[in-house]
Symmetry: C2
Subunit: 212 residues, 2 copies
Amino acid sequence: MTAVKAGVDGKRKAQITAQDLMDAAVDLLESHRSVSSLSLREIARAVGIAPNTFYRHFRDVDELAVALIDQAGRSLRGVIREARQRLSLERSAIRTSVEAFMEQVESEDRYVHILLREMSIGSEAFREAVERELSFFEDELRDELERITQATGTATLEPALVAKAITRLVFAMGASADGKSEAQRREITEQTIVMTKMIMEGAQSLARKQQA
Amino acid sequence: MTAVKAGVDGKRKAQITAQDLMDAAVDLLESHRSVSSLSLREIARAVGIAPNTFYRHFRDVDELAVALIDQAGRSLRGVIREARQRLSLERSAIRTSVEAFMEQVESEDRYVHILLREMSIGSEAFREAVERELSFFEDELRDELERITQATGTATLEPALVAKAITRLVFAMGASADGKSEAQRREITEQTIVMTKMIMEGAQSLARKQQA
DNA sequence: CGAGTGTCAATACAAATGTATATATGATTG
DNA sequence: CAATCATATATACATTTGTATTGACACTCG
């Protein structure tokens, strides 16, 4: 939208973008700071612009925070979708998905951490953005569960509820994996996989009992 | 420890206690503000003391935050224990416990909200305090599960993992119940109960399959 | 009674914050 | 080229922040 083509000569001042501001904000949140403790000036300082220039890109720090969540969600959903497409050849759908999720959490994409951490904090707009991402997940997962039910013929009790349980649990476990070591994260991943299987198995077992 | 006996005459300035500061802080966190966005002066203003007097009770706002978490955890554990003691006469252990938890979350005790919300945010000491409370929960729940296993003879797969899954899930659901209406909270409670039952059922079902 | 001690307020100050106003620079377009 | 526009800076100001210093008041104990 507001993208500016680089000038003919390469000597340009390197055009600050909204993305630059977001990256700087994420840097500042590296350690366990809350988004709400970020100051406009601090972010501006980090990217090397005058405080007022911030307003060219966002009205608020809050607005930047919402953009952060959107980005985190988008990136996370992309990874999960990709994992799902790899599913057909693989063994366990659960394992593949959970591992994809945790992979995304553990590295490279520091945006996701913020989503996981600040689920219940921040402005109204912020929390709504987080809720939106959770819903996306739940919906996609529910569809997937219903597809499995159709395909395998094994009934699942209340797919929507199962999807919600798994989503919340996986997110919570992901959040707890945050500062941990590689080994610890691997253990958390394995735990999460077993937990997810328990929920799935429980939902199917209850469905069987209910049928009888 | 530092409690001061009231003077002979009742005209005293009403002795500010650490608890007063904590209560004031909780008031300020009413809406979804982060603890890390609280200022020392703000809290002092709320209780009507001079900024410097704050130091008589806490070294930091961080130290106050940790005290907050401890209090929330203590109060929460008390309620769960009480619920557990009522269990023998009741029907479903799961329902009783989850309802007790949600009851505590939804009203009166605004301290618990903070614990639920800021699980992944704040200083090191803060997060450690939260982790401590989670561990307490998991341990007590695991003991309970093992006792059930002993009593009923129905095996449960990995009680520690089940306890962890249930704890994280219930906490996550509790956190999501925060700003909601009475009706919505009731629905969340019901959902949480079913989710918990799924986990239990799944763990038992998997144990049966593994035995075979 | 008088000295000590714990609890508070008053004043002060440097630093940091959000934002208003005005200005400069390079790109775009007539 | 001149005008316009988006982008960024500079300066400024009133607030707010954490904390240092100082002193007042009430209570306790010898």
